[in-house]
Symmetry: none
Subunit: 176 residues, 2 copies
C-alpha cells in the first residue's frame, strides 16, 4: 500500500515543471528523496519524534538539506501528515461502525463532545484571582520582582529586573 518510491529515479532535485496551468498553490511541491524519507522515518519510529518543535525542525531540515532541497515547512508537514495518517488508519479499527451500510469514505464529523460555544468565542475559565505566578502556565518565569523603586530607575533611563527563569536567576537590563 505504501507506494513509496524506493528508487531514486529523478527524485532528487525536484522535477516540477510540467507546464502547470495551476491556478494557485504549489507549482512545485517538495518531493522527498529516499534518503530524506529514510531519515525522517528513523526519527519518527526510532527516536519517537512526532511533533518536532521549531528548533528541531530547523535542525532536521538542515540535516536533510544535504540530500536535496528542503524547507522547514516540509519537515513540519511531513511529521504532521505522517502522524495524522497513522492515526487515521488506526481509527478505522476503533470506529464504532454504527451501521454496516456505511461507505468506507465516511466523513465522521468527529464531534467528540466538544462543546460548541453558543456565540463565537470559546471563552475559557472563569475569573479567578490573578496571582502573578498563575499567569505562567509552563513556567518560564517562576517568580519576578518589580519594586516600585524600579520605576524611578526606569525613568532615569535604565531599569534592572531580576527574573527567575526556569529556576535560574537572570538579570534583565532595560534601556529606555
Amino acid at each position: 500500500m505504501e507506494a513509496q518510491q524506493n528508487d531514486d529515479g529523478g527524485s532528487s532535485g525536484g522535477k516540477g515543471s510540467s507546464g502547470g496551468f495551476l491556478c494557485r498553490q504549489s507549482s512545485t511541491r517538495w518531493t522527498p528523496t529516499t534518503d530524506q524519507i529514510r531519515i525522517l522515518k528513523e526519527l519518527y519510529y526510532n527516536n519517537g519524534v512526532r511533533s518536532p518543535t521549531a528548533e528541531q525542525i530547523q535542525r532536521i531540515s538542515a540535516r536533510l538539506r544535504q540530500y536535496g532541497k528542503i524547507e522547514g515547512k516540509n519537515v513540519f508537514y511531513w511529521f504532521q501528515n505522517h502522524k495524522a495518517r497513522e492515526r487515521q488508519k488506526k481509527r478505522f479499527t476503533t470506529t464504532t461502525t454504527a451501521s454496516t451500510t456505511n461507505d468506507h469514505n465516511n466523513q465522521t464529523p468527529m464531534q467528540r463532545g466538544i462543546m460548541l460555544p453558543t456565540a463565537w468565542k470559546p471563552d475559557h475559565h472563569q475569573d479567578h484571582h490573578q496571582s502573578f505566578n498563575h499567569n505562567i502556565k509552563y513556567s518560564p518565569v517562576v517568580s519576578s520582582t518589580a519594586p516600585n523603586s524600579s520605576a524611578t530607575s526606569m525613568l532615569g533611563g535604565t531599569l534592572v529586573l531580576k527574573l527567575k527563569l526556569n529556576g535560574q536567576l537572570t538579570r534583565v537590563t532595560l534601556r529606555t
Copy 2:
C-alpha cells in the same frame, strides 16, 4: 491557501440520513469565499487587525455575511490561525543561533513589521495580563528591549516586556 470556495446558500441534503445517498453533504466546517478572504486579509494587513474584540468580530462577521454564511467564531478562529501561522512559518525559517553566553550581548532589536508600533498604546482596554508562553529552555536572556510605551504602562501598574530568550521573542507581563 484558498483552495475552494464553497458558496453555500443552503445545506443540501442532510448528513447520513437513512435512505439516501451520500450526496455532497454540508460540511460542518466553514469554507470562506474568496470575497470573505479578501476582506479578512485586508483587515489583517491594511488595518492591522490581529485579535479583534467581541464588537469587532460582530461587525466583521456581519459584513462578511453578505458574501456567504459565516459566524462570529469563524472570524475569531481565522484571525487566530492567521496570526499563529504567520509566526510559526517564521519560526521554521529563523536561524536562532543562540549565543549561549550569559553575558549580555546585543542582538537584533526585535523590531517587527507584523505588529503596529502603537500596539501598546495606553488607550487599549484589554484586561488580559496573562500572556506568556513556554519554550524557554535554557533561559539565558540574550537581549532585551523596552519600548518607551512600556514605561507608561508600568506607571499604570503593568509592565510589558519583550524579551528575546534563546533567540525567541517572548513577552512577559509584570504586575507592579
